[in-house]
Symmetry: C2
Subunit: 270 residues, 2 copies
Amino acid sequence: MTNNVLDEVRTAAVAAARAARAAYRAGKAEPTAGVAPGMTQANMIALPRDWAWDFLLYAQRNPKACPVLDVIEAGAHRTVLAEGADIRTDIPLYRVWRNGRLAEEVADATPLWQEHPDLVTFLIGCSFTFETPLQEAGIEVRHIADGSNVPMYRTNRQCRPAGRLRGELVVSMRPIPAGRVADAAMISGRFPSVHGSPVHVGDPGALGIADINRPDFGDAVRIEPGEIPVFWACGVTPQAAVMASGVPFAVTHSPGHMFITDVPDSAYHV
Amino acid sequence: MTNNVLDEVRTAAVAAARAARAAYRAGKAEPTAGVAPGMTQANMIALPRDWAWDFLLYAQRNPKACPVLDVIEAGAHRTVLAEGADIRTDIPLYRVWRNGRLAEEVADATPLWQEHPDLVTFLIGCSFTFETPLQEAGIEVRHIADGSNVPMYRTNRQCRPAGRLRGELVVSMRPIPAGRVADAAMISGRFPSVHGSPVHVGDPGALGIADINRPDFGDAVRIEPGEIPVFWACGVTPQAAVMASGVPFAVTHSPGHMFITDVPDSAYHV
């Protein structure tokens, strides 16, 4: 490709990201897998300032599940990852947590920042980011092919605690043909900031997952003959920590409903 | 190699790391490049608890210079990276900073933890960690070959500020034959947790370095005909932030005098 064509591809991808955020700001809600292909997507958790240190330490101690891409300081709502975006409105669906329990899902989180003016917001890498490279390598990403949300599961693996925070690892799952598992591991492994290589290949029972067809978050997907379930650390892990730790108040994205940034996937490729 | 031989290599490397820490604890001081080959080395900075959030945020915002490998909580002195190690005594040489100025260098930092019982300690990846893989690929690491400390330079590149912390990027330099620069970039790039790929290749002036033969820290090294200076982000960057920001009190390692862990290099290979 000439530079001009490359520039056009990049401009189109950023435009797709901005259009998606504008639609979510206007009230549209959808899972974001496959939206604005090539652009980095992010998990979100916002916590009162008193909890920010514990969370940043939790993330540092569990970097595979919680790779921090940006921290928005107390009360602020802009991020360097997306010019002009507002973190209170530009995610398709938010979850509100009170005393460790899911209280409600909302499309506009602005009133929550009024209720808690000192929220510190963490944007965390999302495995949707390496799905475009997987597809470019000819590996079908089932939930995108089927137009559904990625399946996510709570596991029996405990994260390393930090301060008042503890909880189990959450994973996402993609069925991969046995002959492409190595490729999927190597391709995703080059993106350590968005969960990197898989944490487990094969038997769901080894992770404490009783029924692969009943994910804890997202949608079940078909596993075809010859495919193996492959599991990646998932940015819903902070929500598991909110539950397990009884955090008094938190706002997060709804699983699979991510913040779409203006940063191309390639920025996180090593 | 059989598994037995591999086990012996690993056991010997851990034994070398432990022996080095024991010698430093007993008072020996030396630059640690080339010591306990194959084991991860780390930069250290300890700050009063009041500064810990600012620093962890500074590290998150400048991950190439400040990749955090472990955080030791206020007043504690053990790390998961090295069983039985004491962070107050097991580094060969410490620097004590008061009001942003270097006050003294000491071999035993224990009295400083008595003076400031709430110090939070950060261990940060060090480029010495990928020097063994460079050598294994047949790339000479000049300061190891010459038995000196790596040259380090302050640059004209500003880090992204966080809270009260700001400062310039510090880099380390290794002269690399022009035909091996790409290899050195690719090999180090697979170790993003210990500074990863180079930040600059060639002209020192572009980084604001006036004289390559007068490093700000460490020792000058020979640059042979056909070699190009290659610059990596350096874990002395936090010390530049201490100076630029006038931090009231900090303890760090002395440049090139690192904390040697029990973690093999390969743990940080992606």
